[in-house]
Symmetry: C2
């Protein structure tokens, strides 16, 4: 099995990008990544996307995007695991290089959510849940996350305002990220007075509906050393699963798949939580940032909000998260998010994060979560 | 890169299976395959599916099915390339074993199409085409195939009835396959008098809307030799792409991606068309069987119907196709089809095809086609 390196990254700014089509967004991110890597044409392309079948009436995005990039003929497929689609597409790319079946591989995560009605988006996002046991009862995706947050607050006796630092940190970090959707600081007062979406989740506990694409180019590490790039090594790539429906989990607050995938990734990389310099979490909702930190070993169960309150998640803290704005403020174009997390982490490991640079970032981790935690993929990268 | 073997297969009979859910169908096929292989729990699961996001309001099938099989925790994802989803999921499984990232891998193709309205199915199938350039004009998937068939008939001066042998052969082979949807022989007269769906495509040029699931278990070849099974070796797995929209192809009749993927598969396996003992083609429409045979080198352009007329595609012919009924008569549960092709081929290579057994079948090939030829994946297997 060959070692794999990231040799190029690209992204579009995230927003409501009505003037550009899904394939155009994917092309922009891929073109930027390929130019950075100095490659003309990859051997294969893996696409992470969740919502195009419903919101864009489009499947077979692999061939569609390969063709639009001028790469007609190459191997290309879509990989899907709901909101973890970008992460599992990246894993498929890593595996193609590691196996020796391909040398240069492109991965793109792309999502175009804002051309559809709000009802269509809400119904499409609900397909991340169990249709027969949750969706059929009318449970929206935010409602399911609200159930988890409510349980967390009850079980650990944590007030809602304890989650404010997650959103405030994300918005603060997004200000200096030109690709982020939001560039305004968030105050505690604004957070506390925000309208409720599904109690206890309010507007600022939630990531936005948006469009965007992020891409990376992968190559064998050995080959990367000969190129005019700063290779970032993929130390580990691990996916784990849990039941989709919440009522079938052993412990709704344990995020078992997040724990398992982090554990597998630590083992493969030969590191532990203490070696991780920053952690791009899946903060689709503030409760998910807390649960992810606990499942990955950065806080004891019920203690993540305390870590956040003490500044532990800030740039200078013990474990900086959402360093470029996270899903909350950089944006959450669902199927693209897993690749945006990788792109943000690569930016940090290269030391190119500007005012958001985490000092001495050598090893970093990402976690991309599908549904309310049914598919979780963890990646550990190093410079 | 490790050599990969198939150590177990399973399938449900294909039909209108209203009494069983999507996850139940997947479980039945996987359970049968796992029992045959003698394994309790795979390291990873890859799911091929196209239509669940729209017709079953369900995504994240990887975790859903893994959990339902009692395999909670394992890596699991969905791989999609429209009608080639089963084939690319199988390729993902092969790669996971070949790379050494997993030892025992399960692959399932599953589709449940008959719980939705006909209009919903038609609209969902149209997402295999280019939404912005074809779908937007109201082109259904059968209409696009009809355009190709019309052009073929015009370009090569071939009458419609010349395609009858493809459908007659498929129906003849399905009779002895207990898992096939149809068990009635098809006569030339019935074919000629069939109602038109989209001229020149008639009812018997078309595969049926149906439900079903097929599964395989993969392992490193070295490990397979120690098991109490007849391992079937995966000699090659190759995907190629073309433009989705027909008007952007260099030659509508060339199936360029089918040619490319076959060529790559031949190279990797170190064989040529003359070494292939049987060929499970993607006969979603009879025109596709013809084009696939030509693209893979079994007939000159425009000559596939002649090969069929001379009995070349029959069980005793030069290159037997659709040996268990094909998409036409075994059935075409879209995202499952690529895995059904593999299962049928394994049945032949093991010598377990009963009255449909191709004599001395040692090396066989499958081709799974997404859309009208935008994604094509070719597999070569050997006993």
């Amino acid at each position: 099995m060959r070692e794999v390196a990231i040799i190029g990254i690209g992204q579009t700014a995230i927003g409501e990008l009505w003037e550009r089509s899904l394939r155009q967004l994917a092309f922009e991110a891929l073109h930027a990544a390929a130019r950075e890597a100095g490659i003309e044409r990859p051997d294969a392309l893996f696409v992470g996307n969740m919502l195009a079948p419903r919101l864009n009436n489009q499947q077979q995005l692999g061939a569609l995007i390969a063709d639009f990039c001028g790469w007609r003929g190459i191997e290309a497929t879509t990989v899907e695991a709901a909101c973890a689609s970008g992460g599992v597409a990246f894993q498929a790319g890593v595996r193609a290089v590691a196996s020796g079946m391909a040398d240069i591989v492109a991965v793109v995560g792309v999502e175009k959510m804002t051309d559809a009605t709000k009802d269509a988006v809400t119904a499409a996002l609900a397909t991340a849940a169990d249709a027969d046991y949750e969706g059929v009862h009318g449970a929206t995706f935010v409602a399911l996350n609200a159930l988890i947050m409510q349980r967390y607050m009850y079980e650990y006796n944590v007030p809602h305002e304890a989650f404010a630092p997650f959103s405030i940190n994300a918005h603060r970090n997004a200000i200096n990220n030109p690709n982020a959707m939001f560039h305004s600081p968030l105050t505690l007062e604004t957070y506390l007075n925000a309208p409720l979406i599904a109690p206890p989740i309010n507007l600022y506990d939630s990531s936005p509906v948006c469009d965007g694409a992020a891409a990376v180019i992968l190559a064998p590490l050995e080959m990367a050393y000969d190129l005019d790039v700063t290779p970032i090594r993929v130390l580990a790539s691990a996916t784990a699963t849990d039941s989709l429906n919440l009522d079938d989990r052993r412990d709704m607050l344990a995020l078992e798949a997040a724990r398992l995938s982090a554990q597998r990734a630590y083992e493969r990389a030969g590191v532990g939580p203490n070696d991780i310099d920053l952690f791009e979490v899946h903060d689709a909702f503030s409760i998910m940032a807390a649960l992810s930190l606990e499942a990955a070993g950065f806080a004891e169960p019920g203690c993540a909000t305390q870590l956040a309150a003490e500044g532990g998640i800030a740039r200078e803290g013990r474990i900086p998260i959402s360093t470029m704005g996270g899903l909350k403020a950089r944006g959450h174009p669902v199927g693209a998010t897993g690749v945006y997390e990788i792109v943000d982490l690569v930016t940090q490991l290269r030391g190119e994060a500007g005012e958001n640079q985490v000092p001495n970032a050598e090893i970093g981790m990402t976690q991309n979560i599908g549904g309310t935690g049914a598919t979780v993929v963890t990646h550990i990268l190093a410079r």
